[in-house]
């Protein structure tokens, strides 16, 4: 099993969710994060104080899937989260040893 973790632009969430349910993935967890990267930020000015804001609002999506689904999931996210503009985000994939559904105690594939 793997977790596919994607950093995306916030307004893309619904599209990504729809793309994932479209390929049969019905669970995911979303976190509000701030990203720093090539995409340039803004200057905010509060009276005399100027702040360069280089951290931009992003969403982190984590989806646990069976290993054989990873490429499909990555493709779905890539397709649905893409605007072609700088700052579209990244996808990282890493392995998990173990998954448990708390309600039932089911493990691994059954837990997803």
């Amino acid at each position: 099993m793997k977790i596919v973790m994607a950093i995306i632009k916030p307004f893309k969430l619904e599209e990504v969710r729809d793309a994932l349910t479209g390929i049969g993935v019905h669970g995911l967890t979303v976190t509000e994060v701030k990203g720093y990267g090539r995409q340039k930020g803004h200057t905010e000015i509060y009276r005399g104080a100027e702040y360069a804001v280089s951290f931009l609002p992003k969403l982190k999506i984590e989806v646990a899937v069976a290993a054989d689904q990873v490429s499909k999931v990555v493709e779905a996210i890539t397709a649905s989260a893409k605007t072609g503009q700088i700052g579209d985000g990244k996808i990282f994939v890493f392995a998990i040893d173990h998954a448990v559904r708390i309600r039932t105690g089911e493990v691994d594939a059954d837990a997803l």
Binding site: F11, E14, H42, E44, I45, Y46, Q85
Partner: protein, 459 residues
Amino acid sequence: MTFKTWSRAGLPALLGAVALALPALAQDAAPAAGPGPAEAMAAAVQTAASTVNKGDVAWMMTSSLLVLLMIVPGLALFYGGLVRAKNMLSILMQVLTICAVMMVIWVLYGYSLAFNGGNAFIGDFGKAFLAGVTPESLSDTFTKGVQIPEYVFICFQMTFAAITPALAIGAFAERIKFPVVILFSILWATFVYFPIAHMVWGANGYLLTRGALDFAGGTVVHINAGIAGLVGAIIAGKRIGFGTEQLPPHSLVMTLIGAGLLWVGWFGFNVGSNLEANAFAGLVMINTFVATAGAVLGWLVIEWLVRGKPSMLGGVSGAIAGLVAITPACGSAGPLGAIVLGAVAGIVCFFFCTTVKNAFGYDDSLDVFGVHGVGGILGAIATGIVVSPALGGVGKDGYDMATQVMIQAEGVAITLLWSGIASVIIFTILKIIFGLRPTAAVEREGLDINEHGERAYHS
């Protein structure tokens, strides 16, 4: 006698001798002719003493402040709470700036165009730059022999002019460039608000002489702003994401605060329009209280029945709908009529903002037309009904319900047409010259950061 005491006591006497300070700016300054300053002053004080009651002055000053409270922070918060956090400051800024701009142009030419001389449709520039107005100038009330200081009347009416364009901008919130919003306000005030105010309130105004009842300006303020907003919303087009993404209010708490302040402030609007703190003011006040209560209950009951749950946003929307509807009627209805009118306004606006609006599919971001336009039209027409003595209203000389309703409808129609057509022209010109909307990227990211360089909240 100390200097300071002297200076204040003596100021009125001196003022009689003060001609307009900036004659180059004044188009039509009243010549400081006639009797010498001292005599003029004595006469003025005499007059003031006999026709001005300090209780009225206290109430009218309080009323002016109540309307200011409606604008900032009232309306700013009511609207601001309904947009997404990324556009919060843009709303606050638009309301604040419009308020400031309107106050300045009110002094420059607005008051004169609305209230000084002219014909049945528009005033003249005779009091531009408040030429000739002094602390001794007085304005008539509705009671013979009772007057209030003209500066107080100017302040009171200034707040009406300041809130009206700010009401309209809710319809196209979250998607119009800041300078365009401000330009719209100036043009619209000049070509729509001042003329309509003159028609309804000016001594020789067309609607006034036709016999239309509009105690506190339902036509001038609410119908007027409602239709202007609708036109802007349609010409600007829908917000990105409208109908596909979720665009929920970012803080209904701010909306509740705004609604509460609007309710409290609205008594300045309605009861202040009585111009006197007399017994009749009590009727206007109770109507403004209970119509709102009726409308809160009207909206929440119908929403509960239709949607299964009564919402707080529904409750406050009802409150505003009721306040809008009672505005023209607050000096005509009795309290029971006011409760019923409020309840009907709550129900009608609910249906408009849910069913009718969704059927048409336009994006009136904050339901300006659905609440101010529809509630205003309902109130204006219903004023012709609830004024009926048979329904507990205060009656009117030679009153006939059908006739009065027709007169009221005429006022509504003229306002809808005048404001609607002028708004189409103004928005179209602005669209051609400047373009109404920011880029999609800017709209996505929010107006606050892009247009104003700041964010509403930092944790």
